[in-house]
Symmetry: C4
Subunit: 197 residues, 4 copies
Amino acid sequence: MRTSRVEAFSDGVFGIAGTLLVLELRVPEDGTDLGRALIALWPAYAAYLVSFLTIGIIWVNHHALLEHCRHADRPFLYLNVLLLMSVAIVPFPTALVGHYILSEHGATAALLVYGLGALLIAIAFSGVFFYATGNARVIGDAAEARRLRQDGRLFPIGLVSYSLGIALAFFEPKASLAVYALTAAFYALPILPLPRR
Amino acid sequence: MRTSRVEAFSDGVFGIAGTLLVLELRVPEDGTDLGRALIALWPAYAAYLVSFLTIGIIWVNHHALLEHCRHADRPFLYLNVLLLMSVAIVPFPTALVGHYILSEHGATAALLVYGLGALLIAIAFSGVFFYATGNARVIGDAAEARRLRQDGRLFPIGLVSYSLGIALAFFEPKASLAVYALTAAFYALPILPLPRR
Amino acid sequence: MRTSRVEAFSDGVFGIAGTLLVLELRVPEDGTDLGRALIALWPAYAAYLVSFLTIGIIWVNHHALLEHCRHADRPFLYLNVLLLMSVAIVPFPTALVGHYILSEHGATAALLVYGLGALLIAIAFSGVFFYATGNARVIGDAAEARRLRQDGRLFPIGLVSYSLGIALAFFEPKASLAVYALTAAFYALPILPLPRR
Amino acid sequence: MRTSRVEAFSDGVFGIAGTLLVLELRVPEDGTDLGRALIALWPAYAAYLVSFLTIGIIWVNHHALLEHCRHADRPFLYLNVLLLMSVAIVPFPTALVGHYILSEHGATAALLVYGLGALLIAIAFSGVFFYATGNARVIGDAAEARRLRQDGRLFPIGLVSYSLGIALAFFEPKASLAVYALTAAFYALPILPLPRR
């Protein structure tokens, strides 16, 4: 099966998950000093920033991977649905972090859930990646599949760094968010080559 | 008419319906023990999981069916609109189930509505399927249409199992959700062949 | 300019506007009799039905029109943006109608706003239609443009029937919703031919 | 890499950001005079209008630019993600303006945030534009890249006029919204040529 419709559906979910993040930026109540209230929302802006960039960067890598794929079979489609399901959750932990990162007893739980969500995405992406590159039929060329898998050998690093962020949530929740942001930045590096078309 | 734009519109609705589910995962109120409050949300996570996978699996089957279709005529388009209308409702029964499955007097009504929504999808998908495969022009090849209809003879099984789930909602609402999840799992089987392109 | 990206953007807005309608189906509060509360929501279901089908039918007609278009110029793009802006409003009047159709003093205002929204869509669609068919360059074939305009001579009937529905809103709000539903049903007729591809 | 998937993802975000604006049009509470309450919502309608048209016009210009692009590389993709992130924020300042433009102490802050959001979009779009036209590989033809950059020399005017609007927010918030609307109208002019395909 062609991969073009996989891309359309995926682009839809990535785009919507990113755009729904804005719904967590809530207009402050009347009667307050609006300027001050808007400044106090900064954790929500920070969470928006980290999550939107994370989704954008995953999209770029998904894009890079699918440009190498020729045929989608059922396991590939289901692994991709699992990836999309994890990405679609992102607005929930983002709202949690925006709301609770400054709270004394809520910050750990919020950052823990954020990390679990990110870990889920990393696992699902690894699933899609290893299935595609371990399967000559999906890529359509065994040599290219091997090369891609070799190129992407650093891909599973998110599994480690998100776990680290989760552990940090118990001690320093804000440092935990920094680890999540840095992990996204790592994935922004050109790990997978873009086809030269 | 080409089917590519039918696919784009459908992918949009499938993707959005799936992603809107996350809006029903609500950030718990301040002042509570956040960790405990998040654990208490487990029925909402379960409902998210069942509904997202259901939508993802319907998308895969829709995809498989439309890959065999060459021409879309007006009845086909309207049947597809009815299918999308049913899929777009999913966030509502999902929220009901997430909210009421543990409630003593609400669980039956919630699972009943969930089952009715699922039944509506099964009826609409059957409509699209039988129209497409009963109509040489849509598939563009009478032999392939017959083969597809033969392959999809188990498709209407959802009509039976969703009805069963609805009946169960009156006695064991949680078992009812399990029946809905199992029905989705059944449809994940390779019933319709994917084209070998 | 090719029309394919016009279609992608339009499909996105149509799909999202349709799917956002579900957010107006709100989970009833705890502590009520859920079954009864869900039945009392019937005006919201009716409004969902009329609005989703209206959007679906507009999408089919938009689709039919754009299949005949070869080139999009700037005025065409802006007229299309105005159409999408009107379609994207639909969830608001739908929520109004679902909430107020049974209310004694709110029903007229709600149905009036619904009719104004529908009228706006009819005006914008007429704008796109007359611009495209009055302009040999958009269709790319003067004879086909003339034929299409001739085929679509009943298109502006919505301007009349939505105005009628608005007038009715002052006397019989429920009859007004019926007029809006019938207008959608009228547009489901095969007014514009689908290309025989 | 081909630019078609960049377009699909971008169209998704543009379409969703535009359509989410409607969620800020809130159904007035029961028990009020609905007609009067709906008229009192006019600032929200004005904000919807300005924001939807702004997004629609950015989409047309994005469309015009990408029609000239042949190859997307990683910096191009990330600049585009930054642009989409800015566009996806629009519903938040729109809601602020709709809610606070008539308020005595909130109007300045609301219009200031709206202007900052618009400025962010203008900066990000300039980034995409200058990267694409300064890079023979993205456009795929050095002469065409030079010509485009020459055509788009008025593009950064938004940086100036949005800054002006921000300054005005401190004295005349309503005039500030007018400046934002006029800036969008300026970008509706045919600055970038559409390819004659």
